[in-house]
Symmetry: C2
Subunit: 226 residues, 2 copies
Protein backbone atom coordinates (compact mmCIF):
# COMPACT_ATOMS: atom_id res chain seq x y z
CA UNK A 1 0.00 0.00 0.00
CA UNK A 2 2.74 2.45 0.93
CA UNK A 3 4.53 1.80 -2.32
CA UNK A 4 1.39 2.49 -4.34
CA UNK A 5 0.93 5.83 -2.62
CA UNK A 6 4.54 6.80 -3.21
CA UNK A 7 4.36 5.95 -6.88
CA UNK A 8 1.19 7.97 -7.41
CA UNK A 9 2.66 11.05 -5.80
CA UNK A 10 5.88 10.56 -7.72
CA UNK A 11 4.01 10.39 -11.03
CA UNK A 12 2.21 13.62 -10.25
CA UNK A 13 5.46 15.26 -9.18
CA UNK A 14 7.15 14.10 -12.40
CA UNK A 15 4.24 15.34 -14.56
CA UNK A 16 4.26 18.76 -12.90
CA UNK A 17 8.02 18.88 -13.24
CA UNK A 18 7.86 18.08 -16.96
CA UNK A 19 5.47 21.01 -17.51
CA UNK A 20 7.71 23.38 -15.55
CA UNK A 21 10.80 22.13 -17.37
CA UNK A 22 9.18 22.69 -20.78
CA UNK A 23 8.22 26.26 -19.78
CA UNK A 24 11.72 26.96 -18.53
CA UNK A 25 13.30 25.52 -21.68
CA UNK A 26 11.10 27.75 -23.85
CA UNK A 27 11.98 30.83 -21.77
CA UNK A 28 15.71 30.06 -22.00
CA UNK A 29 15.45 29.57 -25.76
CA UNK A 30 13.80 32.98 -26.15
CA UNK A 31 16.66 34.55 -24.19
CA UNK A 32 19.34 32.55 -26.03
CA UNK A 33 20.61 30.95 -22.82
CA UNK A 34 22.07 27.46 -23.23
CA UNK A 35 21.68 25.39 -20.04
CA UNK A 36 23.91 22.33 -19.45
CA UNK A 37 22.84 19.82 -16.78
CA UNK A 38 26.07 18.21 -15.51
CA UNK A 39 25.53 14.85 -13.81
CA UNK A 40 27.73 12.06 -12.41
CA UNK A 41 28.58 9.92 -9.38
CA UNK A 42 30.06 11.71 -6.37
CA UNK A 43 33.72 12.47 -6.92
CA UNK A 44 33.81 12.05 -10.71
CA UNK A 45 35.33 15.48 -11.17
CA UNK A 46 32.39 17.74 -12.11
CA UNK A 47 33.73 20.82 -10.33
CA UNK A 48 37.31 20.42 -11.59
CA UNK A 49 36.05 20.03 -15.16
CA UNK A 50 33.74 23.05 -14.88
CA UNK A 51 36.52 25.31 -13.61
CA UNK A 52 38.75 24.31 -16.55
CA UNK A 53 35.92 24.57 -19.12
CA UNK A 54 34.72 27.95 -17.87
CA UNK A 55 38.21 29.44 -17.94
CA UNK A 56 38.50 28.35 -21.56
CA UNK A 57 35.08 29.65 -22.60
CA UNK A 58 34.64 32.84 -20.60
CA UNK A 59 36.41 35.02 -23.19
CA UNK A 60 33.80 34.00 -25.77
CA UNK A 61 30.66 33.44 -23.76
CA UNK A 62 28.91 35.07 -20.81
CA UNK A 63 28.70 32.24 -18.29
CA UNK A 64 26.80 31.56 -15.06
CA UNK A 65 26.86 28.54 -12.73
CA UNK A 66 24.18 26.91 -10.57
CA UNK A 67 25.70 24.56 -8.01
CA UNK A 68 23.60 22.03 -6.13
CA UNK A 69 24.40 20.24 -2.91
CA UNK A 70 22.45 18.93 0.00
CA UNK A 71 23.81 21.58 2.32
CA UNK A 72 27.45 22.36 1.47
CA UNK A 73 28.73 25.49 -0.28
CA UNK A 74 32.25 24.33 -1.18
CA UNK A 75 31.63 23.90 -4.91
CA UNK A 76 30.10 27.35 -5.45
CA UNK A 77 32.98 28.94 -3.56
CA UNK A 78 35.55 26.96 -5.57
CA UNK A 79 34.01 27.78 -8.93
CA UNK A 80 33.54 31.46 -8.16
CA UNK A 81 37.06 31.85 -6.75
CA UNK A 82 38.75 30.03 -9.64
CA UNK A 83 36.74 31.45 -12.57
CA UNK A 84 35.22 34.73 -11.42
CA UNK A 85 31.85 33.96 -13.05
CA UNK A 86 28.57 34.48 -11.23
CA UNK A 87 27.62 31.42 -9.22
CA UNK A 88 24.64 30.47 -7.08
CA UNK A 89 24.49 27.58 -4.63
CA UNK A 90 21.22 25.66 -4.32
CA UNK A 91 20.54 23.46 -1.31
CA UNK A 92 18.18 20.54 -1.86
CA UNK A 93 17.73 19.87 1.89
CA UNK A 94 18.46 16.18 1.57
CA UNK A 95 16.75 15.63 -1.79
CA UNK A 96 18.78 13.51 -4.18
CA UNK A 97 18.23 15.56 -7.34
CA UNK A 98 17.39 18.98 -8.77
CA UNK A 99 14.01 19.69 -10.34
CA UNK A 100 12.88 22.39 -12.78
CA UNK A 101 11.44 24.60 -10.02
CA UNK A 102 14.77 24.74 -8.18
CA UNK A 103 16.59 25.49 -11.43
CA UNK A 104 14.12 28.25 -12.28
CA UNK A 105 14.85 29.85 -8.91
CA UNK A 106 18.59 29.54 -9.57
CA UNK A 107 18.15 31.19 -12.99
CA UNK A 108 16.19 34.05 -11.41
CA UNK A 109 19.03 34.63 -8.99
CA UNK A 110 21.59 34.68 -11.82
CA UNK A 111 19.48 37.26 -13.62
CA UNK A 112 20.01 35.70 -17.02
CA UNK A 113 19.30 38.60 -19.32
CA UNK A 114 22.96 38.79 -20.25
CA UNK A 115 24.09 35.18 -20.21
CA UNK A 116 24.92 32.75 -23.04
CA UNK A 117 25.73 29.60 -21.11
CA UNK A 118 24.73 28.29 -17.69
CA UNK A 119 26.20 25.16 -16.11
CA UNK A 120 24.04 23.32 -13.64
CA UNK A 121 26.12 21.04 -11.40
CA UNK A 122 23.63 18.46 -10.16
CA UNK A 123 23.84 16.37 -6.96
CA UNK A 124 26.47 13.61 -7.29
CA UNK A 125 24.16 10.69 -8.01
CA UNK A 126 23.57 8.41 -11.03
CA UNK A 127 19.99 7.50 -10.06
CA UNK A 128 17.57 10.31 -9.17
CA UNK A 129 18.88 13.18 -11.36
CA UNK A 130 18.24 11.04 -14.46
CA UNK A 131 14.50 11.08 -13.77
CA UNK A 132 13.97 14.82 -13.45
CA UNK A 133 13.97 17.13 -16.46
CA UNK A 134 15.63 20.36 -15.30
CA UNK A 135 14.78 22.32 -18.44
CA UNK A 136 18.37 21.92 -19.66
CA UNK A 137 19.34 22.19 -23.32
CA UNK A 138 22.05 19.52 -23.00
CA UNK A 139 22.62 16.69 -20.50
CA UNK A 140 26.32 16.09 -19.89
CA UNK A 141 27.16 12.92 -17.97
CA UNK A 142 30.61 12.36 -16.50
CA UNK A 143 32.04 8.91 -15.89
CA UNK A 144 35.42 8.82 -14.18
CA UNK A 145 37.84 6.08 -15.21
CA UNK A 146 38.17 4.62 -11.67
CA UNK A 147 34.41 3.89 -11.57
CA UNK A 148 34.69 1.02 -14.04
CA UNK A 149 32.97 -0.06 -17.22
CA UNK A 150 29.69 -1.48 -15.87
CA UNK A 151 27.99 1.79 -14.98
CA UNK A 152 25.78 2.01 -18.13
CA UNK A 153 24.45 -1.44 -17.26
CA UNK A 154 23.73 -0.57 -13.64
CA UNK A 155 22.35 2.95 -14.07
CA UNK A 156 20.57 2.55 -17.40
CA UNK A 157 18.30 5.61 -17.29
CA UNK A 158 21.21 8.03 -16.86
CA UNK A 159 23.09 6.54 -19.81
CA UNK A 160 19.99 6.34 -22.02
CA UNK A 161 18.99 9.95 -21.39
CA UNK A 162 22.38 11.68 -21.44
CA UNK A 163 23.51 13.56 -24.58
CA UNK A 164 27.27 13.99 -24.12
CA UNK A 165 29.42 11.59 -22.11
CA UNK A 166 32.68 12.82 -20.67
CA UNK A 167 35.23 10.24 -19.50
CA UNK A 168 37.17 12.03 -16.76
CA UNK A 169 40.49 11.19 -15.03
CA UNK A 170 41.82 9.62 -18.25
CA UNK A 171 45.34 10.15 -16.80
CA UNK A 172 44.55 7.24 -14.44
CA UNK A 173 43.66 4.78 -17.19
CA UNK A 174 46.79 2.64 -16.87
CA UNK A 175 45.97 1.99 -13.22
CA UNK A 176 42.35 1.00 -13.77
CA UNK A 177 42.40 -0.94 -17.09
CA UNK A 178 39.06 0.51 -18.18
CA UNK A 179 38.09 -0.34 -21.74
CA UNK A 180 36.74 2.98 -23.06
CA UNK A 181 35.58 1.47 -26.37
CA UNK A 182 33.57 -1.17 -24.50
CA UNK A 183 31.84 1.56 -22.44
CA UNK A 184 31.11 3.61 -25.57
CA UNK A 185 29.64 0.56 -27.31
CA UNK A 186 27.40 -0.25 -24.35
CA UNK A 187 26.10 3.34 -24.22
CA UNK A 188 25.54 3.53 -28.00
CA UNK A 189 23.41 0.38 -27.89
CA UNK A 190 20.61 2.22 -26.05
CA UNK A 191 21.57 5.76 -26.99
CA UNK A 192 22.77 5.93 -30.62
CA UNK A 193 23.19 9.74 -30.65
CA UNK A 194 25.59 9.81 -27.70
CA UNK A 195 28.84 11.78 -28.14
CA UNK A 196 32.01 11.00 -26.19
CA UNK A 197 34.77 13.19 -24.78
CA UNK A 198 37.69 11.43 -23.05
CA UNK A 199 39.83 13.90 -21.07
CA UNK A 200 41.85 14.75 -18.00
CA UNK A 201 40.97 18.13 -16.50
CA UNK A 202 43.81 17.82 -13.99
CA UNK A 203 46.41 17.24 -16.73
CA UNK A 204 44.56 19.63 -19.06
CA UNK A 205 44.26 17.02 -21.81
CA UNK A 206 41.23 16.93 -24.12
CA UNK A 207 39.30 19.72 -22.41
CA UNK A 208 39.92 21.96 -25.44
CA UNK A 209 37.97 19.56 -27.66
CA UNK A 210 34.98 19.59 -25.31
CA UNK A 211 35.18 23.40 -24.97
CA UNK A 212 35.18 23.86 -28.75
CA UNK A 213 32.26 21.47 -29.22
CA UNK A 214 30.28 23.33 -26.57
CA UNK A 215 31.06 26.75 -28.04
CA UNK A 216 29.89 25.53 -31.44
CA UNK A 217 26.73 24.08 -29.93
CA UNK A 218 25.88 27.31 -28.07
CA UNK A 219 26.45 29.42 -31.19
CA UNK A 220 24.26 27.22 -33.33
CA UNK A 221 21.53 27.23 -30.63
CA UNK A 222 21.63 31.02 -30.48
CA UNK A 223 21.47 31.37 -34.25
CA UNK A 224 18.51 28.99 -34.24
CA UNK A 225 16.54 31.35 -32.05
CA UNK A 226 16.44 34.10 -34.67
CA UNK B 1 1.99 22.01 -2.60
CA UNK B 2 3.61 19.06 -4.37
CA UNK B 3 6.61 19.24 -2.11
CA UNK B 4 4.42 19.15 0.99
CA UNK B 5 2.63 16.04 -0.24
CA UNK B 6 5.89 14.30 -1.07
CA UNK B 7 7.33 15.05 2.34
CA UNK B 8 4.27 13.75 4.17
CA UNK B 9 4.30 10.49 2.27
CA UNK B 10 8.03 10.21 2.78
CA UNK B 11 7.67 10.65 6.54
CA UNK B 12 5.06 7.93 6.65
CA UNK B 13 7.19 5.66 4.48
CA UNK B 14 10.21 6.29 6.73
CA UNK B 15 8.18 5.61 9.91
CA UNK B 16 6.80 2.34 8.51
CA UNK B 17 10.27 1.39 7.38
CA UNK B 18 11.73 2.04 10.84
CA UNK B 19 9.19 -0.33 12.39
CA UNK B 20 9.91 -3.03 9.83
CA UNK B 21 13.67 -2.57 10.24
CA UNK B 22 13.42 -2.92 14.03
CA UNK B 23 11.39 -6.13 13.65
CA UNK B 24 13.88 -7.54 11.15
CA UNK B 25 16.84 -6.62 13.38
CA UNK B 26 15.22 -8.42 16.33
CA UNK B 27 14.53 -11.50 14.22
CA UNK B 28 18.12 -11.57 12.94
CA UNK B 29 19.46 -11.21 16.48
CA UNK B 30 17.40 -14.19 17.63
CA UNK B 31 18.85 -16.27 14.80
CA UNK B 32 22.39 -14.97 15.35
CA UNK B 33 22.63 -13.55 11.82
CA UNK B 34 24.86 -10.49 11.48
CA UNK B 35 23.72 -8.24 8.60
CA UNK B 36 26.14 -5.72 7.06
CA UNK B 37 24.70 -2.91 4.91
CA UNK B 38 27.45 -1.99 2.42
CA UNK B 39 27.03 1.48 0.90
CA UNK B 40 29.05 3.79 -1.35
CA UNK B 41 29.09 5.83 -4.56
CA UNK B 42 28.86 3.90 -7.82
CA UNK B 43 32.20 2.33 -8.70
CA UNK B 44 33.83 2.56 -5.27
CA UNK B 45 34.62 -1.15 -5.30
CA UNK B 46 31.88 -2.76 -3.19
CA UNK B 47 31.71 -5.97 -5.22
CA UNK B 48 35.50 -6.41 -5.47
CA UNK B 49 35.85 -5.93 -1.71
CA UNK B 50 33.01 -8.35 -0.93
CA UNK B 51 34.52 -11.10 -3.08
CA UNK B 52 37.87 -10.74 -1.28
CA UNK B 53 36.28 -10.50 2.20
CA UNK B 54 33.98 -13.48 1.66
CA UNK B 55 36.79 -15.68 0.42
CA UNK B 56 38.72 -14.86 3.61
CA UNK B 57 35.77 -15.43 5.95
CA UNK B 58 33.90 -18.34 4.42
CA UNK B 59 36.01 -20.98 6.22
CA UNK B 60 34.90 -19.54 9.56
CA UNK B 61 31.42 -18.20 8.90
CA UNK B 62 28.37 -19.29 6.92
CA UNK B 63 27.81 -16.37 4.56
CA UNK B 64 25.01 -15.13 2.30
CA UNK B 65 24.80 -12.10 0.01
CA UNK B 66 21.94 -9.83 -1.02
CA UNK B 67 22.81 -7.75 -4.07
CA UNK B 68 20.74 -4.73 -5.08
CA UNK B 69 20.60 -3.01 -8.43
CA UNK B 70 18.00 -1.17 -10.40
CA UNK B 71 17.75 -3.94 -12.96
CA UNK B 72 21.14 -5.54 -13.56
CA UNK B 73 22.30 -8.95 -12.30
CA UNK B 74 26.05 -8.63 -12.89
CA UNK B 75 27.05 -8.24 -9.24
CA UNK B 76 25.15 -11.30 -8.00
CA UNK B 77 26.62 -13.40 -10.81
CA UNK B 78 30.15 -12.12 -10.03
CA UNK B 79 29.90 -12.74 -6.30
CA UNK B 80 28.38 -16.19 -6.68
CA UNK B 81 30.89 -17.27 -9.32
CA UNK B 82 33.92 -15.99 -7.40
CA UNK B 83 32.96 -17.07 -3.86
CA UNK B 84 30.44 -19.90 -4.17
CA UNK B 85 28.22 -18.48 -1.40
CA UNK B 86 24.46 -18.21 -1.79
CA UNK B 87 23.51 -14.91 -3.40
CA UNK B 88 20.22 -13.24 -4.25
CA UNK B 89 19.75 -10.27 -6.57
CA UNK B 90 17.11 -7.68 -5.66
CA UNK B 91 15.82 -5.25 -8.26
CA UNK B 92 14.56 -1.92 -6.97
CA UNK B 93 12.85 -1.00 -10.28
CA UNK B 94 14.41 2.43 -10.42
CA UNK B 95 14.31 3.18 -6.68
CA UNK B 96 17.53 4.71 -5.37
CA UNK B 97 17.83 2.68 -2.16
CA UNK B 98 16.88 -0.54 -0.36
CA UNK B 99 14.32 -0.57 2.42
CA UNK B 100 13.68 -3.06 5.22
CA UNK B 101 10.83 -4.77 3.36
CA UNK B 102 13.05 -5.56 0.35
CA UNK B 103 15.79 -6.83 2.67
CA UNK B 104 13.30 -9.02 4.54
CA UNK B 105 12.29 -10.59 1.22
CA UNK B 106 15.97 -11.13 0.36
CA UNK B 107 16.53 -12.80 3.75
CA UNK B 108 13.56 -15.08 3.19
CA UNK B 109 15.02 -16.16 -0.12
CA UNK B 110 18.40 -16.90 1.48
CA UNK B 111 16.64 -19.03 4.09
CA UNK B 112 18.78 -17.77 6.94
CA UNK B 113 18.40 -20.57 9.47
CA UNK B 114 22.00 -21.59 8.90
CA UNK B 115 23.79 -18.31 8.26
CA UNK B 116 26.17 -16.27 10.44
CA UNK B 117 26.83 -13.29 8.21
CA UNK B 118 24.89 -11.64 5.38
CA UNK B 119 26.26 -8.84 3.23
CA UNK B 120 23.79 -6.46 1.69
CA UNK B 121 25.27 -4.58 -1.27
CA UNK B 122 23.11 -1.46 -1.54
CA UNK B 123 22.52 0.68 -4.67
CA UNK B 124 25.60 2.78 -5.49
CA UNK B 125 24.45 6.11 -4.06
CA UNK B 126 25.59 8.32 -1.16
CA UNK B 127 22.22 10.04 -0.71
CA UNK B 128 19.09 7.86 -0.46
CA UNK B 129 20.49 4.67 1.17
CA UNK B 130 21.59 6.76 4.18
CA UNK B 131 17.97 7.57 5.01
CA UNK B 132 16.55 4.05 5.07
CA UNK B 133 17.23 1.66 7.95
CA UNK B 134 17.56 -1.79 6.38
CA UNK B 135 17.58 -3.67 9.69
CA UNK B 136 21.36 -4.14 9.39
CA UNK B 137 23.60 -4.76 12.39
CA UNK B 138 26.47 -2.74 10.93
CA UNK B 139 26.63 0.01 8.30
CA UNK B 140 29.83 -0.19 6.26
CA UNK B 141 30.53 2.82 4.02
CA UNK B 142 33.17 2.68 1.29
CA UNK B 143 34.98 5.76 0.04
CA UNK B 144 37.35 5.19 -2.85
CA UNK B 145 40.51 7.29 -2.96
CA UNK B 146 39.74 8.81 -6.42
CA UNK B 147 36.49 10.33 -5.08
CA UNK B 148 38.34 12.96 -3.05
CA UNK B 149 38.27 14.25 0.52
CA UNK B 150 35.13 16.41 0.48
CA UNK B 151 32.53 13.63 0.46
CA UNK B 152 31.75 13.76 4.24
CA UNK B 153 30.97 17.45 3.80
CA UNK B 154 28.73 16.91 0.77
CA UNK B 155 26.89 13.75 1.87
CA UNK B 156 26.67 14.41 5.61
CA UNK B 157 23.94 11.91 6.52
CA UNK B 158 25.86 8.93 5.12
CA UNK B 159 29.01 9.85 7.02
CA UNK B 160 27.14 10.62 10.26
CA UNK B 161 25.20 7.35 10.23
CA UNK B 162 27.88 4.90 9.04
CA UNK B 163 29.71 2.68 11.55
CA UNK B 164 32.80 1.47 9.68
CA UNK B 165 34.46 3.44 6.90
CA UNK B 166 36.55 1.59 4.35
CA UNK B 167 38.94 3.61 2.19
CA UNK B 168 39.22 1.57 -1.02
CA UNK B 169 41.70 1.74 -3.92
CA UNK B 170 44.49 2.83 -1.56
CA UNK B 171 46.96 1.62 -4.23
CA UNK B 172 45.96 4.73 -6.23
CA UNK B 173 46.77 7.20 -3.46
CA UNK B 174 49.92 8.62 -5.06
CA UNK B 175 47.90 9.58 -8.14
CA UNK B 176 45.09 11.33 -6.26
CA UNK B 177 46.86 13.07 -3.31
CA UNK B 178 43.98 12.33 -0.95
CA UNK B 179 44.69 13.21 2.68
CA UNK B 180 43.26 10.21 4.56
CA UNK B 181 43.84 11.78 7.98
CA UNK B 182 41.89 14.85 6.93
CA UNK B 183 38.95 12.68 5.83
CA UNK B 184 39.06 10.70 9.09
CA UNK B 185 39.09 13.90 11.13
CA UNK B 186 36.10 15.31 9.24
CA UNK B 187 34.10 12.09 9.78
CA UNK B 188 35.03 11.87 13.48
CA UNK B 189 33.78 15.39 14.08
CA UNK B 190 30.15 14.31 13.55
CA UNK B 191 30.60 10.59 14.19
CA UNK B 192 33.04 10.01 17.08
CA UNK B 193 32.61 6.20 17.10
CA UNK B 194 33.58 5.75 13.45
CA UNK B 195 36.23 3.10 12.68
CA UNK B 196 38.50 3.26 9.62
CA UNK B 197 39.94 0.59 7.35
CA UNK B 198 42.24 1.75 4.54
CA UNK B 199 42.86 -1.03 2.00
CA UNK B 200 43.29 -2.17 -1.58
CA UNK B 201 41.17 -5.20 -2.46
CA UNK B 202 42.82 -5.40 -5.89
CA UNK B 203 46.33 -5.52 -4.40
CA UNK B 204 45.08 -7.56 -1.44
CA UNK B 205 46.45 -5.08 1.10
CA UNK B 206 44.64 -4.42 4.39
CA UNK B 207 41.64 -6.66 3.70
CA UNK B 208 42.89 -9.12 6.35
CA UNK B 209 42.52 -6.44 9.04
CA UNK B 210 38.92 -5.73 8.03
CA UNK B 211 38.14 -9.46 7.81
CA UNK B 212 39.51 -10.08 11.31
CA UNK B 213 37.60 -7.14 12.78
CA UNK B 214 34.41 -8.40 11.19
CA UNK B 215 34.92 -11.97 12.39
CA UNK B 216 35.47 -10.69 15.93
CA UNK B 217 32.36 -8.52 15.69
CA UNK B 218 30.18 -11.40 14.45
CA UNK B 219 31.45 -13.72 17.19
CA UNK B 220 30.78 -11.19 19.93
CA UNK B 221 27.30 -10.48 18.50
CA UNK B 222 26.51 -14.20 18.48
CA UNK B 223 27.76 -14.67 22.04
CA UNK B 224 25.61 -11.71 23.07
CA UNK B 225 22.48 -13.49 21.92
CA UNK B 226 22.79 -16.25 24.52
Amino acid sequence: MDNVRVIKVKQSVLANNDTRAATLRKKLKEKGIFLVNVMSSPGSGKTTLLVNLINRLKQNLRIGVIEADMDAVVDANTVEAKTGVKTVQLHTSGECHLDAKMVDEGMNFLGGGDLDLVFLENIGNLVCPAEFDTGATLKMVLLSIPEGDDKPLKYPLMFERGDWFVFTKMDAISLFDLDVEKVEASILKENPNARFFPLSAKKDQGVDILANALLEQVRSYQEGKQ
